[in-house]
Symmetry: C2
Subunit: 420 residues, 2 copies
């Protein structure tokens, strides 16, 4: 199927999806969850073919793990679809309402964005996640997954298509672009006649490519160089737990801690404990000179290397942590402005004034006071589900929930009212 | 000054603007209004040079009129700046707040978008409007006006710079890119390191150019092919006033009526009255065969031509109106979907069910029931001021007010809370 036809079919389907009631969409989602369970043997078999092909072509183990489905994972995916089914439907919600002096009643009402284009890597769970969120919010979607997962995706798409069909919704609401030719990605990015929003889900290179080549608005995200600043007024014992959590709980993700900034007044007391405690969890450190000095001459409990010139501009995505001593709040804020990616940054302190100043001055999607950066996630911040994390500033910023897949229309009622 | 330096200066200024209090920004706006009045002779002199050069280079009278300032217009512009000064400041507003079971307090707080790039034509009033809105919302802006207005803009920018400076705000918060080389426009559109949002204000070609060439999110707008559908259940007397208002009150703007759709049951009664009444105001008509038939054999009171194949896809921007008879609501909705630009479309009827169905099915930025399409305007719909009218679907749709020049940051307070 060519892109133009897919786009046209998606646009038509979007028109029908926008008018679908909440109950029908919910029915389709439960049907999808049922199908995933019922079709599990076929899905897992196709997935095992993808895994085999992936191993033969030399995919590394991290990618193989992302690609892999098993009965537990598939069952968890089906469970997530049921959770999405039971979320509130944002479509039709009245955002605001006012009456004008001339008698006009002015409302803004949420409607679906229309047609989404979602470009992602070899993660079959994303295929289902995104399909579920698109159905929930009355959108149509064109999916473009990684070529390594094409067999798994075809099997999953059968379940999606059946669920839509049996619920009286258009099958073209969810389409997958599975021809591996990479030119199709560039084509999708220029399909602005039909597609309203591009969501890349993957590494920084994918986001850059989309931004450079798309004529459709792109929700960029991806890279998070995350900071915690331990103030002189922090509860150091409690701070140690937070730093450990932010770095160690899941080091491979974008909201994991990359750089720890420590006030010089507490550096001598705090940094050796950080190295000892996180070192036991396998963390290695990149320390600037004052941080090295604060560690003293005792042999370190972990690998501590002097920080190189690019280390504070690196998203580690692994058990490595940058360490820096700062003179105070201002230097911490300046460091974050110079080296951060406006993703997730926090302060640990008992000083409310310092916290307020940090919150005001640090221009990140999520700013934390006395909490781990690991909470940057739609479910953790109360959105029910997560579409993506946006580090750009338009439309949606930070974790995006179902409502961020909607726009609004103005609905104006008059009494044959004219403008004078 | 090169673009890179302008971008860097704008980004720095944006950081300071974001922290500026409402009072300081309000002070700068009143100072700007004062300066416009005080500097009026110099501004008008520079404007007269632009006018002279424009006439010499053969600008048409419509463009000359847009370019022209006089004491009344300048005083009105200053008045608009004072109105913006006195609007509520959206920055700092808490959008929502929730507490999570683990004790996290999660808020979203409005912050400025950052750096705006505004590209517009030879309208010096836009220079001041946009400057005022940027200052109000704590943004920095790089302005790119038409080359015909470069002298006027320089004089206006002096007033802006002085107002910022005397209020303790960074002068680089408002910069104007006045080198006429058109390559700078393309350069500005790729300055995503520094610029967060592009707002084109002009015709369709400008919007297309920005969308095709920008690596920065663009708020597209521009073209409005607007419809009113007169239902069989309309109050025809009242409907006639609305149709007249929508077409005649200001025909040159995007929210003026382009096509009138009339239910066949009332076409014979209604269309002759439309032609008579609007004809008296100088309107000419393009009618499809059934509309021609409904007008009967009496000599028409105005120019009525058969509609050509592209007439229903034309934004007239002048005293021309397309006429079409439809079988009912469904055909009206289908016509609007096929020929509209999702800008402003309305139904005139006493039938609430038909109205509700129209509102649900017509996917336009502003959908009207029993009102003129001319209300698509920020001030008319209660936004206090208007930045632009967006016909795209992300970030803001329809009239954009000051709040649409903001984004938000998530602010999360914990008690040394960790993710488990």
């Amino acid at each position: 199927m060519d892109l133009e036809s897919m786009g046209r079919a998606a646009r038509q389907a979007a028109g029908r999806m926008a008018l679908a009631g909440s109950g029908r969409k919910q029915h389709a989602l439960h049907a999808l969850a049922d199908r995933l369970v019922a079709r599990a043997p076929a899905i897992l078999e196709e997935n095992s073919r993808d895994l085999l092909a992936g191993r033969e072509s030399g995919l590394n183990e991290a990618l193989i793990d992302r690609l892999m489905l098993d009965p537990e994972r598939l069952s968890a995916i089906a469970g997530d679809v049921r959770s999405v089914a039971d979320l509130a439907d944002p479509v039709g919600e009245c955002i605001d309402e006012r009456s004008m002096p001339n008698g006009l009643r002015v409302r803004r009402v949420r409607v679906p964005v229309g047609v989404l284009g979602v470009i992602y890597e070899s993660r079959p769970n994303v295929t289902v996640d995104v399909s579920a969120l698109a159905i929930k919010t009355g959108n149509a979607v064109i999916l473009r997954g990684g070529k390594e997962t094409v067999r798994s995706n075809r099997a999953l798409m059968k379940a999606v298509a059946e669920a839509l069909d049996e619920s009286g919704l258009p099958v073209a609401a969810v389409q997958s672009l599975d021809d591996p030719d990479r030119r199709h990605v560039a084509g999708l990015l220029r399909l602005h006649r039909y597609v309203d929003m591009i969501i890349p889900r993957g590494g920084n290179a994918l986001h850059e490519f989309c931004r450079e080549n798309s004529t459709i608005p792109v929700i960029t995200g991806g890279m998070g160089i995350c900071h915690l600043y331990v103030d002189s007024e922090a509860d150091l014992e409690a701070a140690l737990h937070v730093v450990h959590n932010a770095k160690v709980q899941r080091p491979s993700v974008c909201n994991a801690l990359d750089t720890l900034l420590v006030h010089r007044a507490v550096a001598d007391r705090f940094l050796p404990r950080v190295v000892a405690r996180l070192g036991r969890s396998g963390v290695a450190f990149r320390a600037e000179p004052r941080a090295v000095a604060a560690l003293g001459s005792e042999p370190a409990a972990a690998e501590v290397k002097p920080a190189g010139p690019r280390d504070f501009d690196t998203e580690w995505l692994s058990l490595v942590l940058g360490l820096k001593v700062v003179d105070g709040l201002d230097e911490a804020i300046d460091h974050i402005a110079a080296h951060g990616t406006a993703h997730s940054d926090g302060i640990l302190t008992q000083d409310e004034e310092a916290a307020a100043s940090f919150v005001r001055s640090v221009d990140s999607a999520v700013v934390y006071v006395n909490a781990s950066t690991r909470f940057t996630d739609g479910a953790q911040l109360g959105l029910g589900a997560e579409v993506a994390v946006s580090t750009q500033r338009l439309h949606a910023r930070g974790p995006m929930g179902p409502a961020d897949l909607t726009t609004y229309k103005w609905v104006v009622h008059g009494r044959y009212t004219i403008r004078s």
